[in-house]
């Protein structure tokens, strides 16, 4: 009975607290595009020539109340094929931050941009670099790259 009476109040408080008093940017992290990279040559005597794809972008918005944010990236579900690496560099948002690129992607999330302050709808490029040694042989595949906006320390 007490819980039943309290429930509307709790819900009311929750709803009222989620309504912004003033318009604030929504916390957002979006990416666009799908990078494609093919290695098909080498300088004789050296490892195959790495290729880059800078055709994709991201957009980030961070609210004042979020504090500093990090963007992490990781691949899943499988690691990259043996003797190949996929790395990314992300241009800093307009509000600044700390760039950690190029970051070699793995199954473990790693910070690509750190300490992003409040920013609204800032876009930047994502540059992928795919490299392989001769030992990799002939390979092909796809990996899902997951970008996550997380609270900074």
């Amino acid at each position: 009975m007490k819980i039943t009476r309290a429930l509307p109040i709790v819900l009311g408080l929750l709803l009222s607290s989620s309504r912004p008093a003033t318009a604030q940017p929504t916390t957002v992290l979006k990416v666009s595009g799908s990078p494609t990279m093919t290695i098909n040559t080498a300088v004789p005597g050296t490892q195959p020539t790495a290729v880059t794809d800078a055709s994709t972008t991201y957009t980030v918005s961070v609210k004042q109340t979020d504090g500093l944010q990090h963007i992490t990236a990781q691949i899943g579900v499988l690691p990259m094929p043996a003797n190949t690496t996929l790395s990314i560099t992300m241009a800093l948002p307009s509000a600044g931050g700390t760039g950690f690129g190029p970051v070699t992607l793995s199954l473990t999330p790693q910070i690509v941009i750190g300490n992003i302050p409040k920013v609204s709808g800032s876009s930047g490029s994502i540059t992928y670099t795919f490299s392989a040694t001769a030992a990799a042989g002939v390979v092909s595949g796809q990996r899902f790259v997951t970008f996550t906006l997380v609270a900074g320390a």
Partner: protein, 162 residues
């Protein structure tokens, strides 16, 4: 009653606040990649050989040139290098070459060059290696006589990898 309700509300709010994850937003992108078959070789140097002497009673003394090198990158298995020249050597003259083998591969040793491609190195597998020695040798018999300066372009080809 109101106080108790407020306590419930505070407890519920605290629960909500403590269960907010650190993740603020998440998105995914698909990256597509490929490595095609790569077979690249390069040769450097322009060897020059002149036979000028002989041991009396023997054929003219052969000369060698070991100033050239070659390099290879392949991401395939079991590739080989062949060599040929566009036109055969004059009668009585033999131009031969020896290629040092990269790691794990096998050199065929000294091979006379002709218009028919000949295997020089076999078993080249997934490597990148440079600065390997190429040794040329020019042999002549007395029957060759005196031959004016001539050149041959040696064509090396990498084939056969899978």
């Amino acid at each position: 009653m109101l106080i108790k309700s407020a306590r419930h509300a505070a407890a519920a709010l605290a629960l909500v606040l403590f269960t907010i994850p650190a993740v603020q937003a998440q998105t995914t992108q698909t990256a597509t990649f490929a490595v095609n078959a790569i077979n690249q070789i390069a040769f450097t140097g322009a060897p020059s050989m002149t036979i000028t002497t002989a041991v009396a009673g023997s054929a003219p003394t052969s000369v060698t040139d070991a100033t050239s090198t070659w390099a290879v990158t392949t991401n395939q298995t079991g590739a080989k290098i062949t060599a040929s020249i566009a036109s055969n050597m004059p009668t009585g003259l033999t131009l031969s070459a020896t290629l040092a083998a990269p790691a794990g591969a096998t050199s065929a040793g000294i091979k006379a060059l002709s218009t028919v491609a000949v295997d020089m190195v076999t078993g080249i597998t997934k490597l990148a290696q440079s600065a390997m020695l190429v040794t040329y040798q020019l042999d002549a018999t007395p029957a060759a006589g005196v031959i004016a300066t001539a050149t041959r372009v040696v064509t090396y080809t990498i084939t056969g990898g899978v």
